[in-house]
């Protein structure tokens, strides 16, 4: 019985550690996805001149999960036409925040990009895209560094914490 409890505690805390580590890993991945999405959004806008809603819809089909849902909700909101692009962007960003592992600084960069969306001409827009991309690059670099540093730490800390708890409680 004691052994069972000990196993439970160790498993749970190890799980928590792994979840935290996965969070870090996911963040870099999602940042990369976001970068890719914005690049393709730029391509849509600059080369094929598709409207924003349509472009976002296409982009949402090219990238994996959390980022794609962000773009699809954004394009849906635009197509319904019930609010401005910035409002729709903010709203879908809020839902992205709940479902992704991105941190506030990453979201700020994306929000900044959304503020300029659909307000300026193509050239300005392109500049904006470049700025955002470099910002995201920076975030990604930071995230990957943090991942490298902390991923192992979270994993081992989770396991060791569970071990400590069982040793003390036994």
């Amino acid at each position: 019985m004691k052994l069972l409890g000990a196993i439970f505690i160790i498993c749970a805390s190890t799980g928590i550690g792994f979840a935290l580590a996965r969070n870090l890993k996911e963040r870099t991945k999602q940042l990369r996805d976001m970068k890719q999405a914005i690049t393709s959004l730029e391509a849509e806008m600059v080369y094929t001149m598709t409207p924003l809603a349509e472009a976002c819809h296409r982009v949402s089909q090219q990238v994996p999960s959390p980022v794609s849902t962000f773009f699809s909700t954004f394009s849906d909101a635009l197509q319904k036409g019930e609010s401005s692009a910035y409002q729709a962007w903010t709203k879908s960003l809020a839902s992205l925040k709940a479902h992704s592992c991105l941190q506030q600084s990453d979201l700020d960069v994306i929000l900044q990009f959304g503020a300029s969306l659909g307000q300026q001409d193509l050239e300005q827009q392109q500049k904006q895209v470049k700025l955002t991309l470099s910002n995201i690059d920076r975030q990604e670099l930071e995230a990957s560094e943090k991942q490298k540093r902390s991923e192992n730490m979270y994993k081992s800390l989770g396991f060791l914490g569970g071990l400590l708890m069982t040793i003390i409680l036994i």
């Binding site: 540093r149 902390s150 192992n152 730490m153 081992s156 800390l157 060791l160 914490g161 071990l163 400590l164 040793i167 003390i168 036994i170």
Partner: protein, 68 residues
Amino acid sequence: MNYDVNLIFQIAGVGIVVAMIHTVLKQMGKEEIAHWVTLLAFVIVLYMVVNVVDDLFQTIRSVFLFQN
């Protein structure tokens, strides 16, 4: 010798695990947290040891000093 000898292994285990946690946290540059963790574990183990020491003093008192 029916005393809880397992407590020895418990203390040693806590010591080793805390040392590992300390090392990991220190490596990640979170020395403050590492110190807090060590301190906390130390207090817990100290509590156990103090309990046993109290037991010892009571025993000696009842055996040698004729007080109960």
